[in-house]
Amino acid sequence: MQRVPLVDYLVLDDEPHLVAAECTGCGARYFDRRSACARCSGLAFRPVDVPTEGVLTTFTIVQFAAQGVEVPFVAGVVDCAGTSVKGNVVNTPPDPEHVTLGMRVRLTTVPVGTDASGVEAVGYGFEPVSDRADEHDH
């Protein structure tokens, strides 16, 4: 099935990852299209892969949202080795017992839906890195 990423900065290859636009002058990173760097006004950017694992530096559990937005969900920010990334925490119950400040998480993909011609849109989220997964990695 044909797939499209939810956002331009998500790359859906064998190892899905995020790509930031890095200012060649000062190293500031952005996920959206920029006219110039907000930090140094530089005009040149290069694509850089963002590490897929990081630490949850803040979160909220949204129970009340705009019409059509499924609740509850966990929104947060993940520090991926120095690059802050916005995203939902997924694959864990949305409560403060399971989602905690400083927990280790990693990027995963999340289905968004399929359009009329059968193209699937795929988004991303961050899931807890469990101890078992750690052992598996080693």
Partner: protein, 399 residues
Amino acid sequence: MAEDVWILGIDMTRFGRHRERDPLDLGAEAALGALRDAGVGMGDIGVLAAGNLIGGNGFGQLLQKQIGQTGIPVYNVANACATGATALRVVVMAIKSGEVDTGLAVGVEKLSGAGLLTGNARREEGGHWVRDGRYGAVAPLDGRVGTETMPGVFAQIGMEYGYRHGGVDFELFARISEKNHAHSTLNPKAAYQKRFTLDEIMNDVMIAYPNTRPMCSANCDGAAAAVLVSETKLRTLSLEQQRRAVKISASVLTSDPWQEACQVLPDINTLTRQAAATAYEQAGIGPGDLDLVELHDCFATAELVHYDNLGLCEPGGAADFFRSGATWRDGTTPVNVSGGLQSKGHPVSATGIANVWEVATHLRGEAGDRQIEGARVGLAHVIGLGSACGVHVLEKSAA
């Protein structure tokens, strides 16, 4: 050296639901109240700065048609929740520049029943994926990549403080809300004057953890206005006007400078810190000199971080500072004795003048049951997300 600017008159409407009154009615009430309080008329006013985000364009001109069309320049300003402070700041700049000696700032909003301020409701999906916007998104991102709701954004701002400094939990934030609701019981202009127990706050409807409903600012209707004058002008006025005048010893507006994570979660800290540092320098005071502070508690989670941003506590020590009782009205640094935005209400464009009204009313010794005795210096702070930060330091008249 530009001369000092003083508040000659200031007023706010009661905040709450004003069913029968439109933004012009509310704006006119506040503006006419401020003029009456100042003892001047529209013929004395050299400049008008006006803010109203939800209404149409040209609010200032429409307001003139209700209170006096004198041909003076009108600046219609917009800076999110800092709109009122921005209007005030425009008048301060006009007076400091020497172009006028008297000006009027007005902020008005009708928000009752506006509900959650958030991203747009999701449109019907289907058809074909089309990339849209600067992220090339094929579907709305609210709820898929984080949250665009204000309670959720500010919840993360408070939780991030906890990540960096520790000692922060749901109960701490709820206790901040408990304080502000308790304070509101003494404020007849507050939209809500109901005291809540800690249990009631924690068990109320969860909006975005850790913010329950009473921990969120109240959407409501209201207006506030101020008449400002130059020091030279003030000295030509009556002794009674001089006695009640309140000095604006600092007036600062900042925007957010680049920070690593500010593109991902709004950074309301850096611009507040910079505004506070500049304000203390302008006023020649330190945070220890403040007798009261009205700060932007749009959510309980926001109040905590601003204790630190405004230098009211040791760096990283906001949780301990609050737990010491310092910010209750009988503490060392009373914060939001008006009840704050959580109970007084948050009619966006009025907020940045209404909190100046609160501080000025205490400095004049006219705050009635909630008077902070002997108040001589106070600070008013607002944040408009995006961001803009307004800080005003006020001083009691020496006369």
